[in-house]
C-alpha cells in the first residue's frame, strides 16, 4: 500500500438541528501520517462534527469513505480501526485503570499484554490498581489515552484531548501523537490549543 493512501475522506457534510444546518459543506480527509485539527468557536459544532466522523451520528447530507469504501456500509471495518475519545473519559469510576482497560478489550481490538507498558508510558504504573474514583481529572484522561496506545487503531479521533491535562501531560500527548503519526497512523482532534507538531492541517468551523 502506498504511504499516502487516503484513510478517511468526507465530502459536503451537513448536520441539521431543528431544521437549521449546524454546519454544511464540510469536506476534508486524512491520509496516513496526517493530523487534522478542528477549530472553531464554542457552539460551532466541533463535537458534533467529530461524532459524525465516527459514525455515532449520521449527517443530514454528505458522504464519508473509509479506505475508499463508503460508510456506513464499511462501518464494522472502520470501527475496528478507529479509536475515539470523547469529552468524558469513558472509564468506570468504580474500577481501576487496569480493569477498565480489560472490559474495553472485550469491545475493541487490543494488543495483548501491552496494558502494563501503556499505563507505564502514561505515568500511571503506580495507580494501575487504584479505583478510578481516586484519580484526578488529568490522571483519568491519561488512563483514557492508554486505551489509544493499546488499540493499535489506524485513526484516532479525539475530542479536546488536552482538556484537564497539565503541561507535562501536553508534552506527553505530543509525543504520543508523533509516535502514532510516524507509524503511519492518522489523527483528527479538536482543541483550542496549538500543538508543537509539524504539518498540522486545520479545519475551521464557522459559528
Amino acid at each position: 500500500m502506498s504511504p499516502a493512501a487516503p484513510l478517511l475522506e468526507f465530502q459536503n457534510l451537513c448536520f441539521e438541528r431543528n431544521d437549521l444546518p449546524l454546519f454544511e459543506g464540510i469536506a476534508g480527509g486524512v491520509r496516513e501520517g496526517d493530523i487534522l485539527q478542528i477549530s472553531g468557536a464554542n457552539g460551532a459544532g466541533k463535537t458534533t462534527l467529530l461524532r459524525v466522523l465516527t459514525t455515532a451520528l449520521s449527517p443530514a447530507a454528505g458522504s464519508l469513505c473509509w479506505r475508499g469504501r463508503p460508510l456506513p456500509r464499511a462501518r464494522t471495518r472502520y470501527l475496528t480501526e478507529l479509536a475515539f475519545l470523547g469529552h468524558a473519559p469513558g472509564l468506570k469510576l468504580g474500577l481501576s485503570p487496569r480493569e477498565n482497560l480489560r472490559w474495553l478489550g472485550g469491545l475493541f481490538p487490543q494488543r495483548h499484554g501491552a496494558a502494563e507498558t501503556a499505563l507505564a508510558v502514561l505515568g500511571l504504573a503506580d495507580w494501575a490498581d487504584a479505583p478510578c474514583a481516586q484519580l484526578s481529572a488529568g490522571m483519568l484522561r491519561r488512563a483514557a489515552l492508554a486505551r489509544l496506545l493499546l488499540s493499535g487503531a489506524a485513526l484516532w479521533i479525539l475530542d479536546e484531548p488536552l482538556a484537564a491535562i497539565d503541561r507535562d501531560g501536553v508534552a506527553l500527548v505530543e509525543q504520543l501523537f508523533r509516535a502514532h503519526l510516524d507509524s503511519g497512523g492518522a489523527i483528527i482532534f479538536s482543541s483550542h490549543q496549538q500543538l508543537a507538531l509539524p504539518g498540522v492541517k486545520y479545519l475551521e468551523l464557522a459559528a
Binding site: 441539521e16 438541528r17 431543528n18 431544521d19 437549521l20 443530514a60
Partner: protein, 253 residues
C-alpha cells in the same frame, strides 16, 4: 424502466414538503365536504331514524361515535408508526411531519372513544367507569399516545425527537396486539358474560348501515384533519424556506 423512473420522480415530488403542501391543498376542500356531509348523514340517520335496541333502548346509539372513534384511535397509532418507520428507514422528512401531526389527533380520538364509552356505561352499568376489556385497552392506548407525545416534547433537537418517537411507536406497534389480547384474557377471567359495548351478536341492518356511514365519515374526517395538521407542521418547520415566504407574500397581496 422509463415508467418506473417517472413513478419515482413523482413520488419524490410528493414526498417533498412543498410538493405535498401544494398537492394536498387540492384535496382539502373535497375531504372537508365529503366528511362533513357523511358525518351529518350518519348522525341524523343513527340518532333519529335507526330503531332502538331491544335490551339497551336508546343508549346504544353512542356506538355511532364510540365505534368509529375507537377504530380510528387504533388505526391512527398504526398510521403514526408506519410514518415513523418511513422516516427512520428512508429519512423522509415529510413522514416525520405526518407522524408528529398524527400523535395528538390519535390521542384525541382515543380520548373520545374513552369518553363516549364511559357515557354509555352510566345507563348500562350504572357507573361511569367500568373495567371493560375494550375500555381498558383504550386506556392503555391513550397512555401509549401520551408517551410518544411526551417524548417528542422532551427532546431539544427535532431531528432526534422524530427518530426517537419512531422507535417508540414501532415498539408500541408490536405490543398493541399483545396488550389487547392480554386485556381480553384478563377480562374473561374476571367478568364473564356481561353486556359488552361492541359485541352485539346480531345487529339489525337498520342499525348497522348508519354505523357503516359513520365509520367511513370518521375515516374521511381523520384524513382531513391529519392533512390540515401536517400542512400546519410543514409551514412551521419550513418557515424560513423561500417557497413559504413566497406563499406568505401571495396571501398578503
Amino acid at each position: 424502466m422509463a415508467r418506473s423512473g417517472a413513478f419515482w420522480q413523482r413520488l419524490h415530488r410528493w414526498a417533498s414538503p412543498p410538493g405535498f403542501y401544494r398537492l394536498s391543498g387540492r384535496w382539502v376542500p373535497w375531504l372537508a365536504a365529503a366528511s362533513l356531509a357523511l358525518l351529518a348523514l350518519g348522525l341524523v340517520w343513527g340518532l333519529l331514524y335507526a330503531p332502538p335496541d331491544a335490551r339497551q333502548g336508546n343508549s346504544y346509539r353512542i356506538i355511532y361515535l364510540h365505534v368509529p372513534a375507537s377504530f380510528l384511535a387504533l388505526a391512527g397509532y398504526y398510521v403514526m408508526a408506519v410514518a415513523g418507520a418511513i422516516h427512520l428507514i428512508w429519512r423522509v422528512k415529510l413522514a416525520d411531519m405526518l407522524m408528529s401531526a398524527a400523535a395528538p389527533l390519535g390521542a384525541a380520538l382515543t380520548f373520545l372513544a374513552l369518553f363516549s364509552g364511559s357515557l354509555w356505561g352510566k345507563p348500562t352499568w350504572g357507573t361511569y367507569w367500568v373495567w371493560d376489556a375494550r375500555i381498558t385497552s383504550m386506556l392503555v392506548l391513550l397512555f401509549l399516545y401520551l408517551g410518544v407525545m411526551a417524548l417528542r416534547q422532551a427532546y431539544a433537537s427535532r431531528e432526534t425527537a422524530g427518530r426517537a418517537c419512531a422507535v417508540l411507536a414501532l415498539v408500541g406497534t408490536v405490543n398493541i396486539p399483545i396488550i389487547y389480547k392480554s386485556v381480553d384474557w384478563w377480562y374473561s377471567l374476571h367478568q364473564p358474560a356481561t353486556i359488552r359495548l361492541t359485541a352485539a351478536p346480531s345487529m339489525h341492518p337498520d342499525m348497522f348501515k348508519p354505523l357503516l356511514v359513520m365509520i367511513v365519515a370518521f375515516y374521511l374526517f381523520y384524513a382531513w384533519v391529519l392533512i390540515l395538521n401536517t400542512r400546519a407542521e410543514i409551514l412551521s418547520r419550513e418557515r424560513r424556506a423561500a417557497w413559504v415566504r413566497e406563499l406568505a407574500e401571495e396571501d398578503v397581496t
